[in-house]
Amino acid sequence: MDFKLTPEEEAFRDEVRSFLDENLPPADQRGPDFGAEWNRKVREKRWVGFSWPREVGGGGGSLMEQVILKDEMAQRKAPPLGSCFMGLAWVGPSLIEYGSEEQKQRFIPDILDGKYQWCTGYSEPSSGSDLASLQCKGVRDGDEYVVNGQKIWTSIAMWSKWMILLVRTDTEVEVKHDGITCLLVEMDSPGLEVRPIRNMAGGEMFAEVFFDDVRVPVENRLGEEGQGWQVTISALAHERSGIAEFHGLMRNLERLKELARNTMKNGRPAAEEPGIRRRIVQAETRVESMRLNGMRFLTKQLKGEKLSSETSINKLHRALLEIELGEIALEIQGSAGPLWQGAEPAAENGHWQRFALNWPEVVIGGGTPNIQKNIIAERILGLPKD
């Protein structure tokens, strides 16, 4: 057991630190141009798409350097590296693995530059956790696919220029996974309609997307026809050790402690209530276990082994914690808990009330906790499939 960095890794860490010293002013001293400036500088450093091959414009960074970079960034509360969230998370990696030369040149630079957003058309009304049962149809017609059907839970569809879409191109296959094809679709295509979904917290992040004879050129197919499932799995299987989520949760925990110190409950600061104190440090203990689980997974990766179902461990933790932090925050606020933004006693203008209603985005989106438990039980513990 040894957490020391090699001299090369230390040098890289120092490089990151001095970059941050020079280019990251404290949050309250950032001007209106800071965001654009930041994006340009980290792009120049090749820190956007840091782990991608250099020949596509990525940074060619090693796994360990990636961890160091993210760690330093998080500690300094730096803005994200790049702004095209889904493009960086899985569209890019899928393109790198399955895209044609032409597709790579057409899309990857824009993803790295954050020119526009991508959205993801996977889930359907009847295909949620059982994604491979999807029905949205793509029928080949000359040099085009004609798409008909519906997608749902498509995050940021209304602000996206492109969508990575899964359609069924073959209904005759024995194994349902085999008849799926991956298409890249422009959101302003004729016949494509986006209808935002209002969530229970009043926000509109998701949308339904309807396809009525939407024509997609064959050149926008990613991978072969019928290969869509592999394209998807390989992108989603760029499994990470979950260390990145640790920093976000830790920041929320610090903020929660602050709330407990500043909020009166039963006539004294909530931070003095034994039940509240224990609940907070219990959550903190779970967060710390996520960090250390992540270190064990990372150790495995550094030894050249692939991660598989064990990453469900941290996904489950994260799901429980997203719910628990909101619950603790409402308990701290006591009688002000059910208030909403605009009500004077609601701390931080209702931040935690919104937090307490927004967890499904994370908890359901990444595969529900019960699905994660099935994965662990079947693939790790070897219990029979349901």
Partner: protein, 375 residues
């Protein structure tokens, strides 16, 4: 960066597991606990010969001089097989002597603890049942350079088998004026209670001190200087208990998973039902997670890291809560047979009851974490 064990440590794990599988499977453990001492002295001595009992004691004192991380491997394996022995008690008492004892005291006591010829234990708790050293009430009465003790210690691990007692007591009015001394079995005025324990693989008892004289040369360090050492012993003990719990909980999960794969109801293996799968998956998640916390705490202890107390508290709090659930769910998932003496799962449920309070329960450690973490 490597958050894993070395090849040597993995080799040790394989050796220990083989040794325990051969010599102390559960049907043998069930017999060992029926003996007056409750453990097998021959096996204990052989483990001493193999160097396992003195794994983390310095070579100059007859040990092997390895770190606590390596000892965690041994503790996980003894935990896995519910091996009855005073291993952890002896390790903690040796650490007290290493941390605070003079070179003479170390030369006198450590070799016996390293080879297993002596069993040691820490006598800390009292009627107040607090792991916070500042709550200790037993007061030493000064008599020249010696101290006289009158009072009781309770819930002392392996009291009936111990040859050496590291006793904590108060030598002044200030909250931190605490001392540790080594008392030997048979000292005048010292007597031991041996209590029945729910988990028969563990021994617990009490100490009665009636005018027991603590000679000045039995004190570990200067009088009133032991508060910090006691804190370190709690860190070590809590992490050690949690390390044993990793092995025990993994074994309980394995036994229950095997049962679920085998048992049929409603024309199906019960392991196919999500009502059975999900609690098993939860056990797995919890065990892997407190395992990570245990390994990190052990590493912090070896490094003398500032974070050691928090790391130990996290490991023990999570282990106590999670193993308690593993025990209960394990028995429940077995259905009726889980409740029988014949099936082994109940032995693990009982072990979880021993683990819960040992070196501080979850509430104690959460409170300590809150105080150390800015709440």
């Amino acid at each position: 960066m490597n958050f894993g064990f070395t090849e040597e440590q993995e080799l040790l794990r394989a050796e220990v597991r083989k040794f325990l599988d051969q010599n102390a499977p559960l049907e043998v453990v069930r017999k060992q606990v029926e003996t007056p001492e409750g453990f097998d002295r021959n096996l204990w001595n052989r483990m001493g010969e193999l160097g396992w009992l003195g794994l983390s004691i310095a070579e100059t004192h007859g040990g092997v001089g390895l770190d606590f991380v390596t000892l965690v491997v041994l503790l996980e394996e003894t935990g896995r097989s519910l091996f009855p022995s005073p291993l952890l008690s002896t390790v903690v008492s040796a650490r007290a002597i290493e941390l605070a004892g003079s070179p003479e005291q170390q030369a006198r006591f450590l070799p016996g603890l390293a080879d297993g010829s002596k069993v040691g234990t820490l006598a800390l708790l009292e009627e107040g049942d607090s792991f916070d050293p500042r709550d200790l009430a037993l007061v030493g009465k000064a008599d020249g350079d010696d101290w006289i003790l009158d009072g009781r210690k309770r819930v002392v691990c392996d009291a009936a088998n111990a040859d050496l007692f590291v006793v904590a007591f108060r030598t002044g009015a200030a909250p931190d004026a605490l001392s540790l001394a080594v008392l030997e079995k048979g000292a005048s005025g010292l007597s031991v209670d041996d209590w029945p324990v729910m988990d028969r693989t563990k021994r617990l008892g009490g100490l009665r001190l009636e005018g027991v004289r603590v000679p000045a040369d039995s004190l570990l360090g200067a009088a009133g200087s032991a508060a910090g050492v006691i804190g370190s012993l709690v860190d070590l003990g809590a992490t050690g208990v949690a390390a044993e719990a990793v092995g025990s909980a993994e074994a309980a999960l394995q036994i229950t998973t095997d049962f679920a794969r085998d048992r049929e109801q409603f024309d199906s293996k019960i392991g196919r039902f999500q009502g059975v799968k999900h609690p098993l998956a939860e056990m797995y998640v919890d065990i892997e997670s407190f395992k990570s916390l245990v390994y990190y705490a052990a590493w912090c202890i070896d490094q003398g890291a500032e974070d050691a107390s928090r790391a130990a508290s996290r490991a023990k709090a999570y282990a106590a809560e999670a193993f308690a659930r593993v025990g209960i769910d394990g028995v429940q998932l077995h259905g009726g047979v889980g409740f029988t003496d014949e099936y082994d799962i109940q032995l693990f449920l009982k072990r979880s009851k021993w683990v819960r309070p040992a070196f501080g329960d979850a509430d104690y450690h959460y409170d300590r974490l809150a105080a150390l973490g800015g709440l």
